[in-house]
Symmetry: C2
Subunit: 308 residues, 2 copies
């Protein structure tokens, strides 16, 4: 058995017809896919300032490495890394070291924002009194800071490490829970184009599976310091993920089928839900960030959970 | 614990907020849901001649019973039962007795068509030489006869026993396999409205789960003679079914979420795929029935599998 592209020994099988690759041909396949996604969906344009959300995990590490590589020599496009320090001892402190080292190696400026400074308390402190699901408060704060800080830094796009598995899971979760309207805001590039209060989000790893990204990170030697958030408890997503992995193992191409079918109807969804979406967006009366009610979710949490 | 509607002892739990029902209140709930589906989606109109596809299974047995009940006194609407005899010894011969008895009891005329007479051979005979999956040839023949014979009998609508489980499974299967275009032809009422070559299909049990229909059939004493086709081998559907049952057990309302989300986007799909669909439909050069190529799938099978 040889690599489908050359005569070397294959190290990985990916989905598709030509699917056994040696290390070098896998890197080519992987990087070509990222470039194709960027070109097809116009993810990067002249004079962009791209903020890359980095968590220290495999997806965002691979993303930052590849964006730097792809944009080498493009003096008109600027990259800044953005990390959020939730304040989780034993996890974030370790991954922050990793993030700092990566950014140093790649010569990318890193902007760091913490819950403690922005909201008054670290997540560890919040959880001493808050007894809800950690991810519910943390998710609100993280999304809030990613949008607000990306704009403050002067970015016009936020690149995230979302991959095919993440997207296929979210599509199904939205179907199972009758949240189809939320799906209208998904895809390789998202954001209400004519509303500058929301930064556009781009997902260059959209067409790559988790397995492919993990393999790429491992084969490129980017894997050694990854660890997982101790509060990772989204059991619903975990069950959808396990189910999808089962189907993919039995019926190769299932994840790809889901996102391809979704991308076919996405323009219809975007068109249909656009007006409705515009109507709902106001500005928070406390922080002036965009929100669907009078007070945004982040300020509501600060008032209820942190100040009390 | 009492029934959520009265003070009797409950016999079943259904999804939703008021969900524990005694026998009488469950019958009311069930029949009200069917009536509401018929009204909301305009499944039955003045002067309709409705052909009911009966297999002898629980779904079509419940369907025929309910349609007769709902349409009692409506002299303008005619019902005819249509059964297909594939020629499967030990299965269809038994269920045909059941079908004949039901139709006799309900005073509904039964029209019976067999593969042997229509195509020259019974399924049992076909399978002596045909080595493909039985369901692939049988499904083509059955769908072909249902459409053609319904029109010949003079019907303008074909009622089938498809339930919420069937529909949720098909929606997901189409998503997983990137067949979203096929989904545009689904819903409680289907058929290309301005193309008389296709009979409109109606699904009055659309919003009822398999569990509810089985319970209704059992509690109404309609259950005793059901058996299953020995060739039932759609393992892909079976796996999607098992997975959905698992999710429903853990996250009540999953199936309902899937069809509700789907019905929200269905008008967009129908509008989008309509023109494309019209372009593709020709008439078979052998039998003149509508098809997507020059020769329809049924005639292709007759030429390849039966005549050779």
């Amino acid at each position: 058995m040889a690599c489908d592209k050359c005569f070397e020994k294959p190290v990985i099988k990916v989905t598709g017809s030509e699917n056994s690759f040696c290390k070098a041909c896998f890197f080519k396949y992987f990087e070509k896919k990222v470039k194709k996604t960027i070109t097809k969906y116009n993810l990067i344009e002249k004079n962009d300032h791209i903020i890359v959300a980095v968590s220290g995990g495999k997806d965002s590490t691979v993303l930052l490495n590849l964006l730097v590589k792809v944009l080498k020599g493009r003096d008109d496009v600027k990259i800044t890394a953005l990390a959020i320090d939730e304040g989780i001892k034993g996890y974030r402190d370790k991954s922050l070291e990793h993030i700092k080292k990566i950014c140093e190696d790649l010569k990318v400026e890193l902007k760091l924002f913490s819950y403690e400074k922005e909201f008054g308390k670290s997540l560890d402190e919040i959880l001493k009194t808050y007894k809800g699901i950690p991810c519910s408060v943390c998710g609100v704060f993280r999304r809030y800071l990613l949008n607000k800080k990306s704009k403050e830094i002067g970015g016009n796009k936020l690149a995230t490490g979302h991959n095919m598995d993440d997207e296929a899971q979210t599509i199904l979760m939205n179907n199972f829970r009758n949240n189809i309207k939320v799906s209208a805001r998904m895809g390789p590039i998202t954001g209400i184009i004519s509303d500058k209060r929301f930064i556009k989000r781009i997902k260059p790893l959209y067409f790559l599976t988790e397995k492919e990204i993990t393999s790429y990170a491992y084969l490129k030697g980017l894997m050694d310091k990854f660890n997982e958030c101790p509060h990772d408890s989204d059991s619903y997503r975990a069950q959808v993920r396990d189910m999808l992995n089962d189907f993919e193992a039995k019926y190769e191409g299932t994840k790809n089928g889901i996102i391809t079918a979704f991308l076919e109807i996405l323009p219809l969804l975007k068109k249909h839900y656009k007006e409705e979406e515009f109507d709902e967006i106001q500005n928070c009366k406390i922080c002036e960030e965009p929100c669907s009610g009078e007070i945004c979710k982040a300020c509501t949490f600060v008032e209820k959970v942190i100040k009390n």
